[in-house]
Structures are given as C-alpha cells and as structure tokens.
C-alpha cells in the first residue's frame, strides 16, 4: 500500500492506495495552520484506521511548512556570504541584515580572477558569532563552473555552524541572484524543517508505520527524507505539483492539454505538452523572489468557488477576493458557488442561503437574480479562459536559440481540458468552447493521490572544458580530469553514470532508464583561429512521473 498526504493551505488530504484495488481510503481535514504536525498525525491516523499499517510500503508527504515559513517570514537568523566579481552591483542581492559581500571573482569559464578576501571573512564571522548566528549560506558567482570559493567560505565557517548551504549543491543552473536567495532560504528554514521532520518520524513510529518516507517537490517528484533534510527549500510549493501529478495518475493524458485545479480562492492552471507537464526551467518564484527550485509550470488566478461576487460600475465581477466561505457554507457574501447553486448547476449545502444572497445582490443592480448569477458564472469562465490564452501565448512565444527550433519549433495547441477541485464538476458543465472537457474520478483528492504516486525526480548538468581537461557536475560534487579528446558521447555516459551512482547512494530508488538526457551540446572553442578544445554541456534528468495509474 502507498500512502500520500498533501498538507495544503486550507485542507489536508490523505489517501491510501492499494496496488491492486486502487484507492482504499481517503480522508480530508482542515489544515490547522498553527499546528501542521497535529494535522498530519490526524490525517495519518484517520486514513490508515482499519488497515494494517505494516502493509504500507511507501509514504510520500507534501507539506507547506517551508513555504509558510518563508512567506510568513518565520525564518532563523541566517548569514549570507556572497562574492560576485564584476557585473551587477552585488548589494542588490543582500537578504536580511547579515549579508557579507566578499571580494573575489571567478569568470564565466570557471577561472579564478581574484582570490577571496579571507581577512574580511574572518571579520564577518566574528560578527556572526557575536550575534549568535548558527546557520549560514554561501553563494559565489559562477560557482557551478568552479566551486572553490563556496568551499573556502564553508571551510572558514567550519563548525561554528549548525548548517551551511553552498549554492552549487542546490542546482547546476546559472543565476547568481537565484543561487544566493535559494541558499539563504534553505539555511533559514533548515532548523524548523528538520524539527518538523523529527516529529513526523516520531508520529509515524507511534502509528506503527515503518515504510520509507519521501518528500514532494515543486517539480512533481519526490526526494528521500534524508536528502530533504539538507535541501529543505526544495519542498516549497509542492502542493500545486501534487495536484498535477494526481491528474496524471487519474487520467491518461497524451495530447497538449490544459489542467485546471479549481479551489476555494484560486484556480491553478497548468499546461501539458504531448502529455507531459511543462517544467519551469529557471526555477520557481516564491513570494516574488526567483529561486533555483525546479517546478512544474503553474499559474494561479484569483477565481475559486468562494470568490466573492461584486458589482463594480454596474458590471458583475467575481474575485479575486474571498470574504469567508460562500453563503451556502455559512458565509455572508454571495460567491461563485452561490451563483452555481442559484442556476441549479449544483446543489451544494444550503441552496436556500445561496438564493437569498444572489437575490439580495440582484436588488442592488438592475438585473434579475438569474441574470446576475449567469453573469457571475460567465465572468469567472472568461477570466480563466483569458488566463489560459495568456499562458499559452507566453509558452509559444518563448525564445529559442537555434535556427532548427526557430523553424521547426512545436506550437502547443490544447485539445483537452482536465478539471479538478471542488467546483470542477459544476464548471465543466458550463465551460464548453470546442475543447473536450474531462473531470477525472476522485478529483477531490487528486492532490493526495499525486503525492502518494509521485516518483523521484532529479536534474544534473555536466560541464566540461576539454581544453582545460576539466569536467564537473556541480550539484552532485563531481570534478574530474578528462583528456582533450573527451567526447560528447563520453560526457553523456558520465552524466548518466554519476547521476545514477549519486542517486543510489542517497537512497533514491531508480532504474537506469529513468535517467534521460534532455540537453546536450558541444561547441568547438577557437582561440585566434586555433582549436582550443570543446565546451561540452550535458543536462540529464529523472523526469516527473507516477508509479502507477489509477484510471481504467
């Protein structure tokens, strides 16, 4: 049996899935924001009650803990050491009060241009000591090409730290500002995350669950619990990804498609290209801060079941605000669900209260209640549709860098739309515009299903300058000497091999075939008309996917 839990902002969902029988138990509870641990333990107990917990072979957990800590600024005081060399003024990248800008520079080829100012590091460290700082982050420019400066900083910090995050360990991606921010937040949530995990392990033990635990990431994949302890920042924004993975498990998606997860306050929109979810290559943004955390592309707009209906300049609008629950659920202002109730599209809770609210609001306008409800529903649908078109437009206009892609590039034209979330069934009945609309079964717990069934994901990038005889894979700590003849084929084989070895060592369970090369390039470098070796770059990943499908 596989257990999945998704701790969301408003609800926590849990499912228990039997490999043969499918979903055998599901449980939904309101999330107690101030006690996530209790929420998780309750969900665990309830969803497994009546089942033999010894039969559980895997537990996957998606939690908003790190997200909340960052968004609500409940962060541990963290010192950030950055070194940037020439470029944008590094003072732009200070976070918190303890950012130290250290002189030193590494260029885009990974050459050291200027050594680190070690005197300044010592001075900064004594200041940190006086302020009682115990967690640190180090990020230097081009550390993914040469990590010596980050290593030197970490060494200098030594054991005065409970934890040091080094930027190059988080991602092979270029982007110094994202590296600095991601490293900082990783250290700043490190302690709160780890104590939460300790408590979860205790809770699982009490219930008798001994299966391995994995944590869900924003890219729709999992990481082993032990790994997540070092990179807790990777657990941010996993909720939307869980829902998307749930849809994959519940439907067999093969075409270009749109996925809508319609919740209480927002609708999340994701796009699939030829059946695969699109990944935000640069990394996701949290609270407006770009990070290196890989994520499934996903956009949220302020339209959901509880979005309030308003009259603005005689026009009927819905959202983006939520003024408590809809009237059918005891609220005071009519919301989208009330309009759907009034139109008879759904029968949700107290329909009389919905009618009351819609009629009262209609009186304030010159519309009949029926017209008002219809306009509210149409407004919501139009809003969602406009946003879908905007996203598709952005995706299809995304820059490419080769003539081949310019000329033969694939354009995404969705053929199907999948709806999940509370008001999904209702909206599916009114959202018709030539596109096939599907509402998978069990859509109300798609997020927990996605959590339960998500597989491992991982990404590495190998970089080699054969002129210098060097090959590195920054985020898994590989650095090797190679010959001048080192070829792209060898680089691809190495990228696969080292990635597999690293994953096995770290407790990931994968097959060799799970690792795919997604980008691979070789540039002949010329100095003064003479060949000076090759610039090789190989990116490989373990793609997001599910361990089993639930649809027939």
């Amino acid at each position: 049996m596989l257990l999945g839990i998704d701790v969301g902002g408003t609800h926590t969902d849990a499912v228990l899935i039997d490999e043969q029988k499918g979903i055998i138990s599901k449980f939904k509870v309101k999330t107690y924001k101030n006690n996530l641990l209790d929420t998780v333990i309750t969900a665990l107990k309830e969803v497994t009650s009546g089942f033999d917990v010894k039969q559980i072979t895997n537990v996957n957990l998606s939690t908003t803990l790190s997200t909340n800590a960052i968004v609500e600024n409940r962060l541990e005081k963290t010192a950030l050491f950055i070194s940037s060399g020439p470029g944008i003024n590094p003072s732009n990248f200070c976070i918190g009060k303890n950012t130290y800008i250290i002189n030193g520079s590494i260029d885009h080829r990974g050459n050291e241009v200027a050594a680190l100012d070690t005197d300044y590091i010592s001075k900064a460290l004594s200041e940190c000591k006086n302020e009682g700082i115990k967690v640190f982050a180090a990020a230097t420019k081009f550390s993914t090409r040469n990590n010596t400066h980050e290593n030197e900083i970490a060494e200098a910090i030594g054991d005065r730290a409970d934890y040091v995050t080094m930027g190059h360990e988080l991602s092979s991606q270029l982007s110094f500002p994202r590296r600095a921010a991601t490293a900082y937040y990783n250290s700043a949530v490190w302690r709160i995350y780890n104590s939460f995990i300790d408590a979860i392990i205790g809770g699982l033990k009490n219930i008798g669950i001994t299966a391995p635990v994995n944590i869900l990431k924003a890219d729709g994949g999992t990481m082993p619990l032990a790994v997540s302890r070092k990179i807790p920042v990777e657990s941010i924004l996993s909720g939307p990804a869980a829902s998307i993975m749930g849809i994959i498990a519940l439907s067999s998606i093969k075409d270009d498609s749109v996925i809508l997860d319609i919740g209480g306050t927002t609708t999340d929109i994701a796009i699939f290209a030829a059946g695969s979810p699109l990944i935000d290559k640069e990394g996701t943004s949290l609270d407006g801060i770009p990070t290196l955390v890989r994520s499934l592309q996903n956009r949220s707009i302020g339209i959901g079941g509880d979005s309030v209906i308003k009259i603005i300049d005689g026009e009927i609008t819905v959202g983006p605000e939520r003024e408590g629950p809809c009237m059918a659920d005891g609220g005071n202002e009519p919301a989208l669900v009330d309009a759907l109730n009034y139109r008879g599209i759904i029968k949700y809770m107290d329909t009389a209260r919905s009618s009351e609210g819609i009629s009262a609001l209609a009186k304030k306008s010159k519309l009949s209640p029926d017209d008002l409800a219809e306009k509210a529903v149409n407004f919501s649908i139009r809003k969602i549709r406009d946003e879908i078109n905007r996203i598709l437009d952005e995706i299809n206009r995304k820059p490419v860098y080769t003539i081949h892609e310019m000329v033969h590039g694939h354009k995404i034209i969705p053929k199907k739309m999948y709806l999940i979330g509370g008001p999904a069934r209702a909206l599916s009945m009114v959202m018709s515009d030539g596109i096939e609309i599907l509402v998978p079964e069990n859509y109300d717990v798609a997020n927990a299903i996605g959590a339960a069934l998500a597989r491992t994901t991982f990404e590495t990038e190998l970089f080699s300058d054969t002129g210098k005889g060097k090959m590195i894979i920054p985020n898994i700590g590989i650095e090797e000497q190679v010959s001048r003849k080192y070829s792209l084929e060898e680089a691809e084989a190495d990228a696969r091999r080292y990635t597999r070895e690293f994953l096995e060592k770290s407790g990931y369970r994968i097959k060799d075939t799970d690792i795919t090369i997604i980008e691979s390039s070789s540039f002949r470098m010329i100095n003064d008309y003479h060949a000076s070796g090759n610039d090789l770059r190989v990116k490989c990943q373990v793609k997001p996917g599910v361990v089993m499908h639930l649809h027939k």
Partner: protein, 438 residues
Amino acid sequence: MIKAANRLGLVFFPAYDWAISPTHPEREERLLYTQDQLREEGIFDIKGITELKPDIATETDIMRSHFCFPDVSSVTTESHLISAGGALRAARAVMDGEVDRAFALVRPPGHHSMKCVHGNRGFCNINNEAIMIEYIREHYKTRRIAIVDTDCHHGDGTQDIFWHDPDVLFISLHQDGRTLYPGSGHLREMGGPNARGRTINIPLPPYTSEDGFIYTIDEMVLPILEDFKPEIIINSAGQDNHYTDPITNMNFTAHGYALLNEKLKPHIAVLEGGYSIQGALPYVNLGIVLAMAGLDYSHIKEPDYDTNYSPQDEEITDYIKQLKKPVLDNYFNPRPDMERAPEGEFTLRHKNIYYDTDGIQEDQREYIMTCKNCRGLLYIESSSSVNPPCVGIDIPVNGCARCTKEGYKLFDKAVKQGNFRTVQMTDRVNKKYERHSR
C-alpha cells in the same frame, strides 16, 4: 528585486547551429559566453527586462531595403532571416510601446551589406538595421531616423543603403579605413548629391581608448544628433573596438561601451561585430544591457582590465580633437556635390565592390534623380562575377508622381529589353515589391 528604470526588450538569438565556416570568427559559440554571463547575472529576472523571440523576416521585408541578385533566397539562409527578424522584433516592441528600449543581440551581423546583394561581404549578407528602418517607415509614421554605428569597422553597407536618403542620418565611428577592412569611411564620404551631410564618418586612429570614444560622442555625435532631432536613434552596436578583439586595433572597454550607450540613449541597439567572445562580449553586452535598462553598470570590469588596458597616448587625443571641426563641418556646412545633375536628370556613380567572404567582384552603375519634390528615383545596373547584369529600381518613401512614373517606365524598359537576369522594383509609395527574372 532589481527594477529597470527603462523597460528593455532583449531579442537574444545566438544561432547556436550556424557558422560561416568551422574556424571562422562568425561561428556557433560567438554568443554562448554572453548568454552564460547574462543568465548568471540574472538579467532575465530583472523587472522591466523582457526576452523576446525574433520574428522571421519575409522576402518583402528584405526587398524593401535591398536589391538581391538574382533573388532573395539565393543570397540568404534562414539564419539571415531570423537575425533580421530579431531586429524587426526589437523595432516592433519599441514602436508598439511594449518596451522603452530594445537590444537585438542577434547574429549573423549585417552592416557591411549594401543596397545590392550578390553574396556575403564582411560576414554580412543582409543589413539588419536597414531592413528594420524600412520596416519602421512602412508600418509607422516615423520618418526621421539616426543610426550611430559604433562597430570598429566602417558601416559601409549601411552607408551605401542610406547614401541618398536625407531623412536617415548615418554616423559611423570606426578605426581609420587606412588601417582596417573595409578601407572606407573617410571624412570626405558625406552622402549623395541629394543627402549631403547626412552621412557622417569619424575615422578614429588605432588604439583610441575610452577617452577618445567618449570625446567623440560628447563633442561630435551628440551635437549633430541634437540638431538633426531624430524621432528614433539606432545603435549598430558592434563590439570589436574592445582592447581584446583579435581582428582590430582599438582600445575600448566594456565600461566605455556602457557609458557611450548611456550618453547616446538609443531606442534600439542591434549587435554587429565583436569577436573577442570570451574576454569582451560577455562584459560589453552586459554593460550595454544595463545601460539601456538605466541600471548601475559601474561594477562591470573585464578580468584582465587592470593588466591589459591602458589609456590612450596624448598624440591620439590630439588627433581626435582635430577631427572635431571637419566632422561638424560635414554636417553643419556640407560642401555641395559638384557633379550633381540638374533638376530632373540623373547623377551617375560607378562602383566596384569586393565581397571578401565570398570572393565576388561587383560592378555597378548607380543613377540618382535630382528632384525638387522628393529625395529622387534610384536606378542601379549591377553585374558581378556570379551574376549577369541586373537592375534595381527604388521609388523612395514619399516619392513624387514624376519619380514614380519614371520608375515604372524604366522597369518596363528593362524587362522588355530582356538582357537583364533580374529586374527588381521597390515601390515605397505604393508598397509594391516585384521582381522580374529571366
């Protein structure tokens, strides 16, 4: 998070799968390290900076600026259409108000491509800036345009295309033609008979440094621009004046390029040459991007700046100071063209053009009408080592009725005569572009 003072559109198209030849400077990885630097700096995360995908220029876009012999597809590949399309996208973004400024970081370059195209000259087949300018004039109300070419090589192609056009001011700063390809760009080259003083050449001595370039901008370029009052300013942003460039002899810097750009305030910049792809381009491009976005670029410095850059000699400073007067005179008091034909008649110019990359020799007879009502009908007969005689006819933007009528008369005559391989009509008045091939 950093916010740009000016909204900037970046059309980045490195053409990673295209090279002139395997060891040619114009090869696949030319912009690879620039992209690495821009991505590592987080340029694309800056609020107000948007990355734009190039358009693909159409045959019409190219025929508006060029006479391609025997036809467009024979002298262009997809790479050229995308590079020119990158400039078009940049122009659209600015003209439509999507952004305040735009920088087309595209390759291959274009500023050595002239009005007639038989092949590749100086790494260029078609002229990205010229195609962009004619696109702007066809689709928007903008008429007065200035191009400042800061590539180390003389922008002889752009000069040729706008030679007869008084509405387009072309200013080229370059290493003196006596010391570098293509050998032209002397002070005396100052525009055709109907557009005297609208071509301004500033040949700078080898080893000109930051001071020399900035002096040239402050004392020559800016006063001229202030008088000309262009509606938009375009910068042909070649980067081969850099002190590390392998094929030139100048002594300019990334910081200098950024400062130059800040002073010039171009609405659109288009990358031209620049072949120090590791030591210069990442820093120069970063400098230009930050300057165009109105951001602080003071922290940009090449890794070898302290050891390999030195300010210019006093001799060079003095030489450049002496250029000021003749340069300003060329614009403010241009000598009239003594050979200019009387009203209603053509002035003839003979031209021999060598295409270094493709080894083509071209012979041209170019006729420009002296007209009191428009900038004059253009008629060119051109033959080359790869093409038998061809004809190009250009009825200019706002061309008068007489020039239009005369243009079609010449077109019919050339077609009827039957001995021309290609006859191209570029009718900017009626926006009609046709080609008759035999």
